[in-house]
C-alpha cells in the first residue's frame, strides 16, 4: 500500500503536469518541462525511503530469510546498542533469520501500537513493554506466554535473579514475558559535597528523618544551594511504599486474583506522601514542579546545585559522568525509607519482552530463539556494562562479581546489592492491575495537591484512591 502511494503520487503529479489534453493537441516542449518537474520528487522519495520499511535483503540477509520484527521503546545510546550490537550481531551470526529492531517511541506507544497492529501484517513479533502494562498486555489476549512457547525450557524463571523473575511470572509460576531491561530506584550522592558539609559519604543517610537532617546540614554549611532532587513521578512513590512491605493493590498486588482496589490511603502511602510534602515545603527538595521531569534532578546534579538525588539505576552512569565533570565523585545509597519501617527492598522496573501470538509457527520459534540468545549471560553482561541496566541472570551477576566488575564500579554494586537484598513478597513483586498508566497520573494528582497546594496528604491520597478505584473497577467490569 505504501509503495503504491509513491507511484500514485508520481502519476498524479505527472498527469497534472502533462496530462492528456483531451483536445487532441500534440504534446510539445511543455510536457517535457512537466516531466522534469515531477521527477526530482520521486528521487528524493527514494533517498528517504523509511528505514523500517525493509525486507530481509535490505537488512543484509537473504531474500527468503525469516524477518523478526522487534519493537522497542529505548532511545539514544540504548537504541543504538539494541539495534546495532544486539539485533544486527544476531542477524549476522544466524543463518536464515534477520532481526529488524525498531524504536517505536515510548513504552506507552509500543504498547498501543502493538495492540493496534495485532492481527494485521504490520504486527511485530516481539514487543518490549513496560512493567505497568503487564495487566493490559495479558488481558489484551494478543500475546502468548513465554512459558508456553518455550518448549526446551531455555528461558526458565529459575535462571533469573528472584527479584526480577518474580515480577514477570504469571499464576502458573512460569514467565509470561522475558525479563530484559531492569532497573530500580537508587540514591546518588555527591561525595565531595558531603565531605564539605561535614557528612560521612561512606555512611549516607537512609531514613527519611536522616535525610532531612543531612539536608539541613548541607544547606547550613553552604556546600550547595539545594539538597535533594527526584522526579515527581509515581514510580518513586510506589517504590517507597513497597520498601515498607506494603502492597499497593488488593489481592496481594493483583498476584492472587485480579486487583480491584488501590491502597493509596494506606499508612505506608501516607507516610511517603507526608515526607514528600515536608521535603518540598522545607526547601530541601529542589524541583521544577513539572510532572515526570526526569531531566530535572540530573540537570541540578550536573550543575552542582544539589548533593543528593533519587533516580533510576539505569542512569547511574550518566550521573557519574556529569558529577565527574564538576571534579567531584559520585556515591550511591539505597532508596530512602521511613524512620521506623523495616526495609523490604524495591520493585523491579523497566521492561520485558512479549511475543505476539498471531504469527507463523516458524516465525515464533525464530523469535523465541532470539529472545533466548538475548538472555544468555554473555549478552546480558554486555547489556549491563553498556547501559547500566541490571544483569538479570543469576549466572551473569556471579560472573561479573568474579571479574571484579562491581569493585571497579561500586555504584553499580550498590544497585545490584539492593536488588539482591530484596525480600521477595507480593509487596516487592509489584502491583499488576489494569489502567496502571492512568492510576500513575492519579497518584501525581495527590502529590501535586499535597506539595503545591498544601493539602493534607491523607486527604489528597484518599481522593486519589477513589478516582483510582473507579477507573480500575470500570476496567475490570469491561474485561470480565
Amino acid at each position: 500500500m505504501r509503495r503504491v502511494f509513491w507511484s500514485l503520487l508520481a502519476v498524479a503529479l505527472l498527469a497534472t503536469a502533462c496530462g492528456d489534453d483531451g483536445g487532441g493537441e500534440p504534446t510539445d516542449v511543455m510536457d517535457d518541462d512537466g516531466d522534469e518537474q515531477a521527477e526530482p520528487e520521486e528521487d528524493e522519495a527514494d533517498d528517504l525511503e523509511d528505514p523500517d520499511d525493509v525486507d530481509a535483503e535490505e537488512l543484509g540477509g537473504d531474500p527468503d530469510d525469516i524477518v523478526i520484527t522487534f519493537w522497542h521503546g529505548l532511545g539514544g545510546d540504548d537504541e543504538v546498542f539494541i539495534e546495532e550490537e544486539l539485533a544486527q550481531a544476531y542477524s549476522d551470526q544466524t543463518d536464515g533469520v534477520v532481526v529488524n529492531a525498531q524504536n517505536r517511541g515510548t513504552y506507552e506507544e509500543v504498547l498501543d501500537q502493538s495492540i493496534t497492529a495485532a492481527g494485521t501484517d504490520q504486527a511485530p513479533h516481539i514487543a518490549q513493554l513496560y512493567e505497568i502494562g503487564t495487566q493490559i498486555a495479558r488481558d489484551s489476549g494478543i500475546f502468548a506466554p513465554i512459558h508456553e512457547l518455550d518448549e526446551e525450557g531455555a528461558i526458565d524463571a529459575d535462571n533469573y535473579i528472584d527479584a526480577v523473575s518474580s515480577y514477570y511470572t504469571d499464576e502458573t509460576g512460569g514467565l509470561y514475558s522475558a525479563p530484559f531491561n531492569s532497573s530500580n530506584p537508587i540514591m546518588m550522592i555527591n561525595r565531595d559535597m558531603f565531605e564539605e558539609a561535614g557528612l560521612d559519604p561512606d555512611d549516607p543517610p537512609q531514613r527519611f528523618g536522616e535525610i532531612m537532617d543531612a539536608c539541613e546540614q548541607i544547606l547550613d554549611s553552604g556546600a550547595s544551594e539545594g539538597c535533594y532532587g527526584m522526579p515527581i513521578h509515581s514510580w518513586f512513590f510506589e517504590q517507597m511504599v513497597a520498601n515498607q512491605g506494603a502492597v499497593l493493590a488488593s489481592n496481594d498486588n493483583g498476584r492472587d486474583g485480579r486487583a480491584d482496589e488501590v491502597y493509596l490511603d494506606s499508612d505506608e502511602a501516607v507516610a511517603v506522601m507526608e515526607w514528600w510534602q515536608e521535603m518540598d515545603a522545607e526547601g530541601y527538595w529542589t524541583n521544577s514542579g513539572a510532572r515526570e521531569d526526569w531531566d530535572d534532578p540530573r540537570t541540578l546534579m550536573a550543575d552542582g546545585q544539589i548533593a543528593m538525588a533519587v533516580d533510576s539505576t539505569a542512569s547511574v552512569r550518566a550521573y557519574q559522568d556529569s558529577v565527574a565533570e564538576l571534579g567531584n565523585e559520585l556515591g550511591t545509597a539505597f532508596l530512602p525509607i521511613p524512620d521506623d519501617a523495616e526495609r523490604n527492598g524495591t520493585i523491579i522496573g523497566g521492561a520485558s519482552l512479549y511475543v505476539l501470538e498471531d504469527h507463523e509457527d516458524e516465525e515464533i520459534a525464530a523469535a523465541m530463539e532470539f529472545i533466548n540468545w538475548l538472555s544468555e549471560p554473555e549478552q546480558d553482561m554486555e547489556w549491563h556494562r553498556a547501559t547500566g541496566y541490571f544483569p538479570v541472570r543469576t549466572e551473569s551477576r556471579e560472573q561479573l562479581e568474579d571479574e571484579g566488575w562491581f569493585e571497579e564500579n561500586p555504584n553499580f554494586g550498590t544497585a545490584v546489592e539492593q536488588l539482591e537484598q530484596t525480600e521477595v513478597s507480593p509487596a516487592t513483586q509489584g502491583a499488576v492491575m489494569g489502567q496502571f498508566p492512568q492510576i500513575r497520573s492519579i497518584v501525581l494528582d495527590a502529590a501535586e495537591a499535597a506539595m503545591f497546594e498544601g493539602q493534607d496528604p491523607a486527604d489528597a491520597l484518599s481522593a486519589s484512591k477513589q478516582d483510582a478505584d473507579s477507573v480500575l473497577q470500570e476496567y475490570n467490569a469491561d474485561v470480565e
Binding site: G22, E108, E109, I115, G289, A290, L300, D445, F452, D478
Partner: protein
C-alpha cells in the same frame, strides 16, 4: 458613514483570498460562477473528474471517513485500543458533563482559548495599525522582527518558554529577583495558565500580523485620503474607516485563531505536561490522553465530537456575525 461604506464597496472583490472560503462573498460568487461557466467552459467532463478526483478522494478518506468513525466510536466502550468494543449509547457524552474533572476541562479550555483568540487578534491589529501609520519609517524592519516567532514551531516555543520561566535557572525569575519576587510558575495553576497563554500569544501574533499587514496594503488609498481631508482624528479614522475595511480579514483571522487556540495549543499543553493539577490540560490534551495513554477511545471520541461541534458552532456564529457587520455587504 453610508458614503464611506459605499466607497468601501469598491473593494468588494477584495476579501482576503483565504477567507473567500467561508465568507458570504465567496459563496455568492460561487453560485454566480456556476452560472457563468455555462457560457465558457470546457466540454470534456472526464477531464473535470480527473482534476477533482484526487481532492475528493483524499478529503473523503482522511476527513469524512474518520469523522463517521468518530461518531461510531463515541457510542462504544472500547478497550485494548479497539480489540474489544461494546455499545453503550450516549454514556460517553453523559460522562463528559457529569464527571467533574471532565467538566472542568471544558470550562478551562473555553477560558484559555477565548483569551488567546482575543489577544492574538487585538495585539496584531494594534501593531499593524502602528506600523501602517503615515510617516513611520522602518516599518519593514519592525515587521520582519515581529514575525520572527512564527518561524518557531508552537511546540518549540513551548520549550523556550518552559526554560524562560524555569524557577531555578530561568531568565524571568532572574529579572524579577531584584524586586524580591520569585514566582513558582509551574507549581501554581493560574501562573502556569498565564505562561501557557503567553506562549501561545507570542507564537501566534506574527501570523495575524502578516495577514493584517497584507490587508492594510490593499486598502483603497482614496477612501483613507478622503477621510484625512475631512479632518477626522486618527482614532476616528481607524475605528470608522480602517477597521470596517479590515473586517473580512478579521473574520478570517477569528476563524483561524479559533482553530489555533483549540487545537494547535496542544503542543504547549504537552510540553507543560498538562499540569500542575491539570491546569494546562485543555480538551484536546484530555482527548489524546484518553485516546492513547488511558485506552478510553470511546470517551475520547465523544470529547472529539463535542470539541468539533464547539469549533464549528463558533465558526458559524463568527461568520454570521460577520455577514451582518462586514460593511462591504
Amino acid at each position: 458613514m453610508s458614503q464611506l461604506t459605499e466607497k468601501g464597496e469598491a473593494t468588494e472583490a477584495s476579501p482576503p483570498p483565504t477567507s473567500g472560503a467561508g465568507s458570504p462573498g465567496g459563496e455568492g460568487a460561487g453560485r454566480k460562477a456556476f452560472a457563468q461557466t455555462h457560457a465558457a467552459s470546457f466540454p470534456q467532463r472526464r477531464a473535470a473528474l480527473w482534476l477533482l478526483l484526487p481532492t475528493i478522494v483524499i478529503l473523503s478518506l482522511f476527513l469524512y471517513y474518520p469523522m463517521l468513525r468518530t461518531f461510531w466510536l463515541s457510542l462504544l466502550s472500547v478497550r485494548f485500543y479497539g480489540q474489544q468494543r461494546r455499545f453503550v449509547g450516549l454514556e460517553n457524552f453523559q460522562r463528559i458533563f457529569t464527571d467533574p474533572s471532565s467538566y472542568d476541562a471544558v470550562v478551562r479550555t473555553a477560558v484559555i482559548s477565548t483569551i488567546v483568540i482575543v489577544a492574538t487578534i487585538g495585539i496584531a491589529l494594534f501593531l499593524a495599525a502602528l506600523l501602517n501609520q503615515r510617516g513611520i519609517s522602518g516599518g519593514r524592519v519592525y515587521r520582519l522582527l515581529l514575525i520572527w516567532p512564527l518561524a518557531l514551531s508552537t511546540a518549540i516555543s513551548g520549550i523556550v518558554f518552559l526554560t524562560l520561566f524555569n524557577p531555578n535557572f530561568g531568565m524571568v525569575n532572574a529579572v524579577l529577583a531584584p524586586f524580591g519576587i520569585q514566582p513558582e510558575w509551574f507549581r501554581d495553576r493560574t501562573l502556569a495558565q498565564v505562561v501557557m497563554v503567553l506562549t501561545l500569544i507570542w507564537n501566534r501574533v506574527g501570523f495575524n500580523l502578516v495577514f493584517y499587514t497584507a490587508a492594510y496594503q490593499s486598502l483603497p488609498s482614496e477612501t483613507l485620503e478622503a477621510a484625512l481631508v475631512d479632518g477626522a482624528t486618527p482614532w476616528q479614522r481607524f475605528w470608522h474607516i480602517t477597521f470596517p475595511l479590515l473586517s473580512p480579514m478579521t473574520l478570517f483571522l477569528l476563524v483561524t485563531s479559533t482553530v489555533f487556540a483549540f487545537f494547535d495549543a496542544y503542543a504547549v499543553a504537552e510540553v507543560f505536561g498538562g499540569g500542575p493539577l491539570n491546569a494546562t490540560s485543555i480538551l484536546i490534551y484530555e482527548i489524546t490522553e484518553n485516546a492513547f495513554r488511558d485506552d478510553r477511545i470511546g470517551l475520547a471520541a465523544a470529547q472529539s465530537l463535542l470539541l468539533f461541534l464547539a469549533v464549528a458552532f463558533i465558526t458559524i456564529v463568527q461568520l454570521r456575525q460577520g455577514r451582518k457587520r462586514v460593511t462591504y455587504q
